[in-house]
């Protein structure tokens, strides 16, 4: 991607307020993706500024409930990134993570939470360019979705929906 391309930055029609409001939390494994994000920085690959990184030792440490917690309480997007499968620093941590996150991803929309707000990916410490691409695309995706409404009820929005279950 190039810096001159208008599409590479956040949509122009967005108000400054929404731009300011978007917060994406990134859970990055220390060995690969955190390094990849560092590499992207060292190479001065420009990225949107919405991402806030939490450093974890391994995606195997990633309990999907961290993602649930983030999205339920209104973080606008969650990005999890680790070592490529078979390159895990701990041999197999990302294999566990892959299953857990894949199942979680399929589960999220059932509860009414947009699955597009969550992404997991694999980026190695040397893939600065790939990291730039991931962050840029995901940030754009979240900007398109806008701020996460979370799950809070707006006032007066009580039992409007009846159960069609029994």
């Amino acid at each position: 991607m190039t810096d001159s391309s208008p599409r590479s930055s956040a949509p122009a029609d967005e108000t400054a307020a929404t731009k300011q409001g978007i917060k994406i939390v990134g859970f990055l494994c220390n060995w690969c993706s955190y390094g990849g994000a560092d590499t992207a920085g060292v190479c001065r690959f420009k990225q949107p500024t919405d991402l806030r990184v939490v450093r974890i030792p391994c995606t195997g440490r990633m309990d999907p409930l961290f993602i649930a917690k983030s999205l339920i309480y209104g973080v606008d997007g969650v990005l999890v990134s680790g070592c490529h499968p078979r390159d895990c620093h701990y041999a197999v941590g990302n294999f566990y993570a892959r299953r857990r996150m894949e199942a979680f991803k399929a589960f999220l929309p059932f509860m009414g939470i947009d699955t597009q707000r969550f992404k997991y990916t694999w980026v190695s410490a040397s893939e600065g360019q790939q990291w730039q691409k991931v962050v840029t695309e995901f940030s754009e995706q979240i900007h398109r979705l806008g701020p996460n409404p979370g799950v809070r009820l707006r006032s007066g929005d009580n039992s409007k929906v009846s159960s069609g279950l029994r």
């Binding site: 300011q20 420009k46 030792p57 440490r61 566990y96």
Partner: protein, 652 residues
């Protein structure tokens, strides 16, 4: 908690696009932050002194530095706060350079993000706990898995240094692939002449215990304290008695046994010592071909053996060894070229592999060192070498370069000319990779002094015509199709990971790449270490390598082991999992998922079971923490509360 925040300008690296003064002043408004400032170069000597001064002056109990990546300077700052009397884990870093100032030019947005990152770091720090390393003794014995040249080098280096070494080799002899080679590039010295003495050394060193014809059954424990079970495979010969006299081989009536050492070019006896210099020089019965073991009446060897070493009732036995470090030197295998239909799919008898050609060239080989072709024993005059057979070919799943083939083809072509001065050699190649010392000169000699014809291009087809073969290929430099009528074709089959490498990696709990080669800790800076502490790599198990590199790695791994063994005790990393027994429900899920076997059962009074982490084995990945349903096991320094605190700062 009294927290100090230090925001680094990093010259203009950070201050150029982040308002560091504003970050510091906003940080000062956070709960628990009692001091915040920005500084030109926080990692500099005066910068560190500023942190230490503030710790003293403000009674700081925790420090946040907002600067570069923690992968860069976390150790620096940890040392700095430790010097000022804080526990080094009462420190957090906010990465506002690689993750902020260097990736965006919007000063306002960058500053906002930097403030958020500092807030998250402060949030996490509130839950930090001082952590302390513990010490445990080191068992100064080494296990070397694999008795090729890399393993031999490692074993001898360590044994010379006074380390007790246990060597396990799954074949009945040590020496590995190098023992099968005739000469070595680029010096053309005799492989067995340089390897032989080392093999003898292995057998004669008192502090080396050799288990040949043995495999690793299981490995448990951790750095400094591994327990290894070794399966000694049935040889049907009592090696304690066997003198290697070879009388049994001479009389054995089963003469059509597979000759593995000669790569199937000849035949062996069912009871066999594969080559005269074999170490250990002990006979082994091949159960597949032995008449006695296949229900026929025989037992000739048992009758002839002067020391009564033959034991047809022998079974596998398991021995247990305790070691403090492990070197994996399991070597490589060669690509099976039968997947290439264009090269005859393994059906043309005179299309052979490079290693078979080594055996043909070898004076101790099946043809006594005379170059003949396998089909009819005729001396070849036109010989074609084809490089990159199973290397650099995505279509067969081998996209990597095997690194050694260009060189051994050149060597074999030179030797061919030495043996058969009238012969012509042709080499079909893609590129010539000869980056070692004197390597390129060597290849040039083959071309210029020995008249080997190098043709840049792939071979499209080989087929039989009369008693010769037609090799059709392209010369991409001339842009023409070429055809060579050859008596013998040698395929430079590529290097692939040793069979069973994956299973062994799982026993060792180390990772391996998609081709089965073991993963080093860091491709540049930790090339012989693995991510499992106490397990090191040597030779081609880590990736294709030639002899000098393998030997260098063997020595490198040995030096790693010796530096480990220079300590009587080792310090453990305290960033490991810890079980809160009160919350543990003994479901055992952590034990089930731990990639390192670092969690075990512990029994309390009354038979109540709880999980227990072995801090010296735990590598700190946190899979257990993510898995534990009541979160009784917490990864220190990345606890649920710490991660939640960071998330909470963003939810607020």
């Amino acid at each position: 908690m009294r927290i100090g925040v230090f925001v680094c300008n990093c010259g203009t690296n950070i201050a150029g696009t982040v308002d560091t003064a504003k970050v510091a002043s906003e940080a000062l408004a956070f709960a628990d932050v009692v001091y915040a400032t920005n500084y030109m170069y926080t990692c500099s000597e005066p910068g560190q002194q500023e942190i230490q001064r503030a710790i003293g002056e403000y009674g700081l109990q925790g420090v946040v530095v907002a600067a570069c990546s923690p992968r860069m300077h976390e150790p620096t700052f940890r040392r700095a706060v430790e010097k000022a009397g804080l526990n080094k884990y009462m420190f957090e870093m906010a990465n506002i350079r690689e993750h902020v100032s260097w990736i965006g030019n919007d000063r306002e947005a960058n500053t906002r993000k930097a403030v958020d990152l500092v807030r998250m770091a402060v949030g996490k720090l509130r839950f930090n706990q001082p952590l302390f390393s513990s010490k445990m003794p080191v068992n100064k014995r080494l296990l070397v898995i694999g008795g090729g040249v890399a393993g031999i080098q490692a074993a001898l280096d360590c044994a010379d240094g006074g380390v007790d070494v246990v060597m396990v080799e799954r074949k009945q002899y040590i020496g590995g692939k190098m023992a099968q080679l005739d000469k070595t590039f680029p010096t053309i010295d005799c492989s067995s002449c340089i390897l032989g003495p080392k093999m003898v050394d292995v057998s004669q060193k008192e502090n080396i215990t050799l288990y040949a014809a043995s495999e690793i059954e299981s490995i448990s424990g951790y750095i400094g304290n591994f327990t290894v079970e070794i399966r000694k495979k049935t040889t049907y010969v009592n090696w304690d008695a066997c003198t290697g006299c070879g009388a049994c081989m001479e009389k054995c009536p089963a003469k059509k046994a597979e000759d593995y050492f000669n790569e199937g070019l000849g035949t062996a006896r069912a009871i066999n010592i594969p080559f005269p210099q074999a170490i250990p020089k002990k006979a082994v019965i091949d159960a597949q071909f032995c008449r006695q073991l296949n229900g026929k009446k025989c037992g000739v060897c048992a009758k002839i053996c002067p020391v009564k070493a033959i034991d047809f009732e022998m079974k596998d036995t398991i021995v247990t060894e305790k070691v403090g470090a492990i070197i994996a030197a399991t070597g490589y295998d060669l690509f099976d070229h039968s997947v290439y239909g264009e090269y005859g799919a393994g059906r043309l008898p005179d299309v052979i592999t490079g290693i078979q050609y080594e055996r043909i060239l070898s004076a101790s080989g099946p043809y006594g060192g005379h170059i003949r072709r396998p089909s009819d024993g005729k001396e070849p005059t036109e010989i074609v070498f084809i490089s990159c057979v199973g290397s650099r070919d995505q279509s067969v799943g081998r996209p990597y370069c095997s690194g050694v083939c260009c060189m051994y083809i050149a060597k074999q072509a030179i030797l061919t000319r030495d043996h058969l001065p009238e012969s012509n050699s042709y080499v079909f190649y893609m590129d010539i990779r000869a980056p070692g010392k004197n390597y390129d000169e060597f290849v040039r000699r083959a071309q210029e002094e020995y008249g080997v014809q190098y043709i840049r291009g792939r071979v499209g087809k080989i087929y039989q015509r009369g008693d010769r073969m037609v090799v059709q290929g392209a010369d991409t430099l001339l842009g023409v199709q070429v055809e060579v009528e050859a008596d013998l074709v040698v395929l430079a089959t590529g290097v692939e990971s040793s069979s069973g490498a994956g299973e062994l990696a799982e026993k060792l709990r180390i990772s391996y790449d998609q081709y089965g080669f073991y993963m080093e800790s860091h491709p540049k800076l930790r090339p012989v270490e693995t991510n499992t502490a106490g397990v090191y790599l040597a030779g081609a198990c880590q990736g294709p390598k030639d002899i000098p590199s393998s030997v260098a790695q063997g020595s490198a791994a040995a030096s790693k082991v010796q530096s480990l063994f220079a300590h009587d005790m080792i310090e453990t990393n305290p960033q490991v999992a810890l079980v809160n027994e009160r919350n543990c429900i003994a479901c055992g899920k952590c034990i089930q998922v731990c990639p390192f076997g670092a969690i075990q059962w512990k029994e309390l009074r009354g038979g109540i079971k709880k999980a227990e982490v072995l801090p010296s084995v735990c590598q700190g990945c946190g899979v257990c923490n993510a898995t534990c349903p009541p979160k009784a096991v917490q990864l220190q320094h990345a606890t649920d509360n710490q991660i939640l605190a960071e998330v909470n700062e963003l939810c607020a």
